[in-house]
Structures are given as C-alpha cells and as structure tokens.
Symmetry: C2
Subunit: 610 residues, 2 copies
Amino acid sequence: MANPVLPSSGVLSPLGLDKVRLNPGFWGDRAALNSEVTIAHCVEWEEREGWIPNFRGVRPRRGREFSDSETYKLLEAMAWADHPGLPALAETVAQAQEGDGYINTRWSGSRYTDFEWGHELYCYGHLIQAGVARLRMHGEDRLTQVAVRAADHVCRRFMQGTETCGHPVIEMALVELYRVTGAGRYLEMARRFVERRGLPALADIPFGRGYYQDDMPARQAQVFRGHAVRALYLASGVVDVAVETGDQELLKAVEAQWERTIARRTHLTGGMGSRHIDESFGDDYELPPDRAYNETCASIASIMLAHRLLLATGDARYADLAERTMYNMLATGVALDGKSFFYANPLQVRVPATPLEGVNHAAEGGLRSPWFDVACCPHNIARTLASLPAYLATSSADGIQIHHHTPSEIRHDGLAVRVETGYPWRGSVTVRVLEGGEGRIGLRVPAWATDATLAHVPASAPDAPLEESPAVRPVDPGYAYVEGPWRAGDEIRLELPMAPRWTYPDRRIDALRGSAAVERGPLVYCAESVSDEPPLGDLTARVQPPVERAADGVVELEVEASLGSGDGNGWPYAPASDGRASGTDVTLRLVPYHRWGNRGPATMRVWLPI
Amino acid sequence: MANPVLPSSGVLSPLGLDKVRLNPGFWGDRAALNSEVTIAHCVEWEEREGWIPNFRGVRPRRGREFSDSETYKLLEAMAWADHPGLPALAETVAQAQEGDGYINTRWSGSRYTDFEWGHELYCYGHLIQAGVARLRMHGEDRLTQVAVRAADHVCRRFMQGTETCGHPVIEMALVELYRVTGAGRYLEMARRFVERRGLPALADIPFGRGYYQDDMPARQAQVFRGHAVRALYLASGVVDVAVETGDQELLKAVEAQWERTIARRTHLTGGMGSRHIDESFGDDYELPPDRAYNETCASIASIMLAHRLLLATGDARYADLAERTMYNMLATGVALDGKSFFYANPLQVRVPATPLEGVNHAAEGGLRSPWFDVACCPHNIARTLASLPAYLATSSADGIQIHHHTPSEIRHDGLAVRVETGYPWRGSVTVRVLEGGEGRIGLRVPAWATDATLAHVPASAPDAPLEESPAVRPVDPGYAYVEGPWRAGDEIRLELPMAPRWTYPDRRIDALRGSAAVERGPLVYCAESVSDEPPLGDLTARVQPPVERAADGVVELEVEASLGSGDGNGWPYAPASDGRASGTDVTLRLVPYHRWGNRGPATMRVWLPI
C-alpha cells in the first residue's frame, strides 16, 4: 500500500510502489536519475544554503520563511526512494521539534503571528506527507514520530477557531495521515480547514483574497483561481475530504472547477498559471505563450489533483490530463542531467537566457537553473518522480487498469504483468502476463488516439503479425478492456497512432490566434534555436504533415517554414496587413518540448504562426 | 519662459505658459478640470493618507518610502496652475528640511542607506522640478529656496563618489535647475549621475540591474529596457545632459534607443511597459493587449522624452508619438470627472473590474480608482495637464511651429495667433492671425494624415469654401509651412482627413496576430461592453469602413461583427481550426479608447479579431 494517495473509497484503487515497478524506459530512466542524482543534488544545496543547518540551530537562520518545507519534501522523496540518507536527516529535523510538537525554524518564538505569509501550517503539511510516505514504505521511525507529533499539535491548536494557512497543503496531508492511521481527528481537522477557507479566514492583501482561495468557500467556486499551486493543492485536499466524508456535492464542485479550468485556463502542455506577478491562473482564455508562468510545482499539483479525481470517478479525462502534464511539464522541469530545473515553463522564449552558475533569484523560464531562492520545484520533482510508480495503474473489483504506458511490472491479486513499450516515441504497447490470474485488464487509450487498435494474443496463439491477427479490433479513446482469466504468456497489444498532428487553439485564446502547434502522441513539440541557428521571431510555418526524424533515441520532426530576417524598424502598426514572413525557406526542426533548453541558451516556440 | 523644459540649444525652442494659452476644447477643458478638481482631489487624499502630515512631523509616518515625491509633484502641478494653495503647502514641506538641505520624511536619521530602493534622490528630483516650475512661473519664494538648498546638498554630498539612485529623475531636474539658474554645478552633477549609471553603480537585484538601467551605460544601450518609468525618466535626463554638454554621440544613442523602442516595444496607444511583475518593457515584440501594463506615468515620461527629442532635432515623428500618447494615454489616465485614475492601461479587459471606493492597493487597469497606495499617476497627470500649453508650440529663427492642434492662443515675437478647431473630432484646423508679425508658421501634419490639405487665406480674401479656393494645396505628413509676414485676419486652414481607418499589427507581434484595430485621427478606438451588453470574448469583426456616429460631442464608430455566446467547455486545442465566431451578427459600437471605463465596470478590447 505504498501510495501517496490511498482513498478509503472511490471507483479505482491505486496500486502502489509495492505493486508497480518501473523498468528502464522513459519514466524508469528518469526515476533512476532522480534517485541517483537529483536527491543528492537537493541534499547538497540544502546544506549549502543553510536550510538543513537551520534545523541544527545554526544561526543566523538562512532561507525563506518556508524553507523547512523544502527539507520535508526532500524527506518525502527519500522515503519513496528508500534513500539511505533519510534516518540521519530525520534525526536532524527532529532536533528542532519543541515539546508540544511545534516545529518551525523561522517562527519558533513568534508562533502563528502571520497566517497569510508565515507558511507554518504549509510546512507541517509537507512534514506530514513525508511522514505518511515513510509509514507506508517503511513503518514507524523517527520521521513518522515527528510528523505525528506535529499533526497532533496542529489538531490541538487549531481544531477550534477560524484560522487557516495562506498556503494550502496541510488539508491533503492530514487526510492521508487519517488514511494511514485511522485517527479521525486528522480528517476532521482537514475538513475544518477546508470549510473555514473563504468565509473568509485570512486578511485581504493587495493580490486579493482570491490569491489564496479565501475569496469564497471551495464548494461555491466555479473555477480554479489565484496562485496556481495554492489553488491546486487546495483542490486536492478538498477532493480528499469529499471522498472520505462522502460529500458528493463537494466532489462535484471540484470536478466542475476542474472542467472549466481545463477548458479555459490550461496551456497546451498542461501547464497552469498565466501570470508572473502573483503566480496565478489569470482570467479565462488568458493563455499567453511567452509570459505563461506555468510553474513546475503547479503542474505537479495538477497531476496530484487529476490522480485523485481519476481514483474518485474512473474518468479517463483525468488520466489524459495527467499524461499530458507528465510528458510536457514534469519531464520538462528537470534537465537531462538531473541537476538543473525550470521554475517557469513558457511556451515561447524570444531572447536566449543568460547562463547562471549559482542560485537563481528569479523564476524566469529561459534556462534551467541548478538552484533557486525558492526551491520548491526541484523538491517537488524529486518527490514526484520517486513516487511515480503509484500513478501508473489502479485496481477495481473487476481487475486492473493501466493508465500510463511505460516499461513496468504490475502485480495485483496474484496477477503479474509486464508492460513493454517504446512509448512515447513508438505507439506499440505490449502487456505480457507473467503470472496468471483473474479479472479484466483495462488499458487507457488517450483522447488523441482516435485510430487505436487492440489485440488479445493468448499464450497459445502463434506470434503472428498484428495486422493479420483476427483478434485485432479498433478501440476508442477511454479504456479498452480485455477480459481474463489470464495465463502466463498471454499478451495484449495496443497500437496507438503516432502520426504527428497539427493542433489549433480555441479562437477565444487571443494570444494564440493565427498559429498552430505540432503534437505527436502525448508530446508537444517546439522549435528551438540554439546559438547561431536562425532566430524564430519572424516565422511562418506551412501546415503540411511533419516529417519524422529519429535522433539520439528520440523522435524529432521537421516542418517547412519561412523565416524573416528580423530586421525592420519604424512604427509597427500599419494600414495593411503584412502577411506571412517573406524570408528564407527553411526546414524547421521541432524537438519535444520536454527536451528544450538542454543545449544551452535558446529561443523557443511551441505555437507556430501559420 | 514658463516651461518645464527649456534647453539652451536645439532646433526648436519651446513656447511656454507665458506664450501659449489653452482655450476651451479637448485639452483646454481637461486642463481646467485639472486645475479645478484634480489638484484639490490630490491635496485632499494626500492629507487623508498622511503624506502631507508626514512633513509636519506627524508620527507614525505613513505612506510608501517615496511618498514625499507625491507632494512635490503636487507642488509642481500647483506651480504651473498658479494654485493659491501652494505657499502654505510649501511652508509645510519646508518645516521638514534639515540644516544642511537634506529633506526626506522617511529616511531622516538613516540617510542614504539604500540607494536601490530608498528613492531619496528621486524625491529630490521631483522637489527640484517643483522648484523650477515655481521659479519660472513666479520667481523665488519658500519653495524655490527649499529646492535650491536640497540641490546644493545633493551636489555637495554626491559630486564625488560612485553613487546614484535606483529611480532616475534627478538627472533632468538638475539640468533644468542649471538652465534656470545658470549654476554649472547642477549640470555637472546631472552629468555624473548619468555617467555613473551602468558601470554599475547599484547592487544586483532579483529583477536584474536592467530594472533600473544599471546594466550598462546609457550611451551603450540599444533600446529602452527594465522599469518603464525609470527608463524614460533616465532617457529624458540623458537628452538634457547631451544637449547642454553638446554630446552628440549621447544624443544619437538615445535617438536610436527610442527608434527601436517605438518599433518593437510600444503599444498602439503609445503605452509602454508590457510586464506587471517589474513594470518593465519586456522583450522586443512582447506587446500583449490584455496584460499590457502601460503605466500612466510611463506614458507621461514618454511624452516628456519625445518633447525633448523634438526640441533637439525638430523631427516630426517625436511630435507624432507625443500626440498619440497624449490622446490615448494621458487623456485616458484620468476619468471625465477628474477624480479617478488608471494606473495600468491594458488594451483588452476580459473581466469587468469590481468597483472600489477607497484606496486601490493594486495597479490593475480595469477601472479608474480615486487613489492608490502608490499614487504617482494622479500627480503626474496633474502636473502634466497643468503644464500642457508648454508642449504645443515652439519657435525657431524663422518662425513658430504648432505641433498639437487644439483651441489655443499662441504669441511669439509680436505675432499672435488663435488656433480654432474641433480636433480630434473634426479635421479642420484654422490658425487665425490676431496680431501681425514676421516669420513663417509651421503646422504639423500627423503621420497618418496622408491626404491633408492646407490653404492660406489672406485677410483680404473672400471667405470662399476651401474646396474652391485656389490657395488649397496638398501637404505631406511632417510640417507644412506658410511664409509670413502676417496681418491680423490672415488665416491658415489645415484639413486633416478624418476617415476611420483599420490598422494592422506587425506580424512579429505574436499577441496581436489575426486582429486589427480602428483608428480615427489621432484616436485609437475600442469596443466596450458595459453591464448587460454582450461580452466581447468571442468576437469576429468585419473589415469594412466603420460608420461614424456623433454622440455627446464625441465621434463614436460602428463596425459589423459576429459575437459568439462564450459557451463551450472541453479541451480548447483541437485538430482543426474553429474559424470565425459563429454567433449573432451585431453592430459593434466603438468608443475612443480614452473614454472607456467611464460608464462603470466593463470589458474592453482595442484589437478586434478579424
């Protein structure tokens, strides 16, 4: 039951790290790099920046007011990764806990004096999530004791009253602690935090109470709004509370908010949050490619939320969005070296970034940085990749469901299967039964896969080419099911259509008018211009089928385009339209968006003028 | 010589408030409203918010660290407007000045400890500008003494060393004080502040040194960058220094920066500054209509700069931009009631603002507010409208030049003329000679006026219809000249073509692709949707000649459009383009942009999808 999310009820039950193992492949390689490189990188920088030393009592204290939370997210990553450094770091953290369970290196001595910006309950939330991870992966130890004591302190201090935290996360943490311990006070505390919010519970601020979702109760909201990470963490906690309390109205409210957010406030990459100034969603259809903020953490929060909604409802659209966000945001957030990170993830970069060796004090998205003053994103990536197996597959009374197709082994109730695939580069997915069992197997067919086929090849059948097999049948987007029982050697072969496709924006997205993007499978592609390659500022692409080109184990694409020189001065508004770029005809190379920014400073664009 | 800017040399010499008087009309009415309502409004709010009481020693001190500067800008406005409240307010300010000339209600006791954000020299700059205004309008008094003592303190303290202020303005203030007093130390101090900047002189900050133009010396920069108000105030001071020191290289550098900024970083309204987070220009071609920041103060700074460049070079394009900015930004910044103000000036608003009675803590641009925590814009409007006559006309050895056509009387060297016009609503401009004299009269023909005509009608000529007069001749954009000598009753009649025109953006402006705007004369128009009028989110306009409609003394326009319902959920990216709005055919009413937001919360758009 090694899961970050384990609801008591719901249409689907997640299979955890004890049931799902990643094999080498797109995600398996990234998870391995995360365990081997990224976690150590985080430890090293947290020591260097003083955030871990804060727990040792080193003074002056360093880091932002919420830096404790980074150490907790790191501990959560270590817990999922069974990292040998965890006990020592947990012991360091434990030193800072006070007798009544309070722990915070910034606010000790002036507890709970700033609910708007203090982040104390936010820090507890991450501590509790780390504790839950450790309990499920390992059982009780020093870290879980610290987390439980902190949670009990929170329940004592806040069960009565009207207070809550300016940054949600404790809501889902407490529900999960309830799920793992069975202690109802944690659920009740979470429920109260959810219900208090928006009455309002916090002070007004220049950004407005919508910034921290305190403008109205969660069950009344129509859409996600304000600071994107806050909004999505809160929504995750609200789903958790709704599921555990059987509050269908509350669950439906979040589903409706999610639907409107997906339709009007989500970038093609799955990224959320259009504004830099307050890291917020912005208005409906405000989706600028260049100034998209799309914080990496918001995308992780969106995956967390979509996973919860998938478990609660079984609706494939939640898994569709999770997949889109995993391949185009989570995979983008960390460089191929595992040691540098994007904070913001725009869909267009006009000016190459200036390389930076040390700490990035800003959050611009032009080039991955080794570290940030606010380093939420590296830790969030680390804990998410470390727990990724728990997001791949689920079970229900009638069998298992495989939502994300990547090389892996899945075991449930005696049945064991191996998923073999070159996805997302190739569209063939083979599920091979290793150990027979009962129940049907469901495979998600992504929404874009409108010509997918599926074949059931029993172990005894000849290994005939799929096209000639009578068992091949077309399958629609959603879930394709094959009934059991299963014998070792049985195979399911899913073929997803991987032709590159042009994608157009809703005409209400003003910032994207007159442009189109190229996708292939779950991947969004982009044009990238490195060093002395021609700039992308004055570009007009031809809408013709993109040509595939294998390169270094990935699939790149080529489209034809005209590139203008970028020259031209004078007033840029004229009595006549200047039409398409009248420049050089070029073959434009498109790379997967998640791979951009790995070759040094570059300009980039996902949306191509057509 | 009552001018805010009075260079010792240059192609053109400005005619000041002693030479130019506004008559009732577009600008005359606004200047009167400013004197009668806006200045008193500012006094009232500065008292209420504690900024004037700060000078009286009332503690705790209130307002932002730079609030002294607001009182100084108000004093400048009062000086130009000959406001009777000036002496008393000047006396209040004088109380706070220390023995050595230092004056700052925030930093007294901890002088010069924060050059990046302290704004001490910035405050002096505005104090000195107020002092210069008073000297020129009135002569020496308490205010001018305070200003001169402060300037002398600055020269003593900063003539040596490497320090400068995070917010420019003192550069142009000191040059002007040099111009009015002849004391070379002020010019030298200004020159040193200019030359120090970018070496660098200030600390690095998360926004980067470009934020306050300290990333490189002014003479090396290619374009205006960083915080827009800072950049444009600095550039104004650099022009002043260049003109007074005869530094042609430095002047050419600013001209080149201006040219690139106009071509790539300026909105159709003349607004500058695309980003909210750091109030900065953003990158080339980053010109989002919805998130355009376009601070009112930046537009005023742009008018100040364009005026300086016009005086230095005589090039009409500077007057063209000033006109565009005056009619579409300065006139927009204040409501028709003279008591509420825009801080940011976007070209598209998707969601009607929530009305606000009191102080606006933010700077969003959906609805004019009576006051702001940072109230630079109201004061900047007040001082600019109070000194507006000084921007209208100039003289040179061969006569006078009229740059902005609005009802007014202009006197120079014996010659007196009256400008009669319904501009910007009507295109007829008559310059009638009141008192005869020598020299030629130049009238600016705006860049958009490609079919203008001009007639010289001597006093003795019959008052024949223009079309039949043999004296009518076509004139090109730029300046149209008529030679003297002049007798009372002589007239020049300029006819500017006022047909509404569609305007298209450069294709490199990604955010505007597939849309066009309507202009008429110097005015940018916009669609505005108030209360229960249909929303503008899903709109497609037909590019046909707009129909004129007179309404309340202004000219509104009508275009045909389709309006979609705004419905629709689901993933907004699809395999096919959804084309134009398939909704209701409507006649879309367009109002001058400067008049939007006067009828309550509304949605608005300048750029119409076509």
